[in-house]
């Protein structure tokens, strides 16, 4: 349990780092180091109208900073239902963003995918620990 918590805090910090990087690039108007043609195209995703929170000029990566920061705080604290709720929020957001990438834009942003994978990993960790916490699992 302790190791899982440490790993989760570490993954959340990495997520904060990626989100800060993407947010800084957005405000600097610079494309990230990433392919710019074909199915993997960070520029197509990050310069699209979907790259900002609807109705604002705030990049979605800023929301990523908040999500990962809260996740780090939660995991540094005691495991509880808040983790499940937060993981659910993260997963639903990831699904929405992946929908935009695949269906609307037809392009995948590798940096965003790295952040998405971190959310999914944290959600899997949450699912695993919550099963154990209920005494339904065999333990780690």
């Amino acid at each position: 349990m302790e190791r899982a918590r440490l790993a989760a805090v570490g993954l959340s910090v990495v997520g904060v780092g990626i989100s800060i990087y993407l947010t800084l690039l957005h405000y600097a108007g610079v494309a990230p180091a990433c392919p710019t043609s074909g199915a993997f195209n960070c520029d197509a995703v990050l310069s699209s109208s979907y790259a900002v929170i609807p109705g604002t000029s705030v990049p979605t990566s800023a929301a990523g900073i908040v999500w990962f920061a809260v996740s780090a705080l939660l995991w540094a604290w005691r495991f509880g239902p808040a983790h499940l709720v937060w993981a659910g929020v993260g997963l639903l957001t990831v699904l929405y963003l992946v929908f935009i990438e695949i269906v609307r834009l037809g392009a995948i942003c590798l940096w965003c995918t790295a952040a998405h994978l971190l959310v999914v990993t944290l959600a899997m960790l949450t699912a695993s620990l919550s099963l154990q916490g209920r005494g339904l699992g065999r333990g780690a």
């Binding site: 699209s48 109208s49 992946v98 695949i102 037809g106 899997m124 699912a127």
Partner: protein, 281 residues
């Protein structure tokens, strides 16, 4: 047959410890499975909803569309100004770039598959047609498998341009299926490397006085449109397409006017172009 008497030495099996249901790996596995299913569904939706590439127009229809977009009234250019275009044009300091006839040259390097190139060709053709005449333009659309699939556009692969003020050189490096098409000269490649370290296309060098990469508006402005529809949209100054494309064309016109020392006056002396020239620096 002998049999052991009942109850003699009966080994008693230890009672099995009850194991409660769900193993710990089930949770993560369920999350992964649901995600994989959802992503597969997205891919199928994408596959079904990606439109087939539009059939290129005939030579006559192409000529009609080109004539329509290159004869827009001065009042429309003046009314729109920069429109919704994003000014990407940056001043550069290099040896003046001249073309085959010794006039200041506009160099374009792009690819037919590229949706941003597709978007940028519209304002480029409109702007340069204010200084000269294109011939041999053909319609095409960007890749069906890239972002903003099938964005309607033209190709410079067989186009020629004549003008008494400037030269134009268009290099289409790949066709819409990404097969190699044309190559820049060593000098053009050097400019591309110098001003476009990221290798982004389209790359446009305006006489080595200005350069930019990318498109000044997002290609989704042209989504699901045919060439004649875009041409018709450009007749309406209030349309999103006119604000984006003509706004971009005005910025390009201002940069070319800087190259030609404001010639021809009929194009360059308008208050709109003069104002944009100041913005370019």
């Amino acid at each position: 047959m002998s049999s052991k008497p009942r109850g003699a030495r009966q080994t008693r099996k230890p009672a099995r410890k009850p194991v409660a249901g769900t193993p710990a790996w089930v949770g993560p596995a369920a999350v992964a499975a649901v995600l994989a299913l959802v992503v597969a569904t997205f891919l199928i939706i994408r596959w079904y909803t990606t439109p087939l590439p539009p059939k290129p127009l005939t030579t006559d229809s192409t000529a009609q569309v080109v004539a329509q977009i290159t004869s827009l009234p001065q009042s429309e250019f003046d009314g729109i100004g920069q429109g919704t275009a994003n000014n990407l044009i940056k001043p550069v300091a290099g040896t003046p770039l001249t073309g085959a006839t010794g006039k200041p040259e506009v160099l374009y390097i792009g690819g037919e598959f590229c949706p941003y190139c597709a978007a940028e060709r519209w304002p480029l053709i409109i702007a340069l047609s204010r200084f000269g005449t294109f011939s041999g333009l053909q319609t095409t659309s960007s890749s069906s498998t890239d972002a903003y699939p099938n964005t309607p556009t033209f190709t410079f692969r067989s186009a020629t341009y004549t003008s008494q003020y400037i030269d134009f050189r268009g290099v289409e490096t790949s066709d819409r299926d990404r097969n190699p098409l044309q190559s820049p000269s060593a000098a053009e490649q050097a400019l591309f490397n110098k001003y476009d370290a990221g290798g982004t296309i389209p790359f446009v060098d305006l006489g080595n006085r200005y350069a930019f990469t990318g498109s000044m508006y997002m290609p989704d402005a042209l989504a699901n449109k045919t060439w004649p529809q875009v041409a018709n949209d450009l007749q309406d100054p209030s349309s999103a397409q006119a604000k984006a494309i003509i706004g971009s064309a005005n910025l390009l016109t201002a940069a070319v006017c800087k190259m030609t020392s404001d010639q021809p006056a009929a194009v360059c002396s308008s208050a709109t172009i003069q104002g944009l020239e100041k913005k370019l620096g």
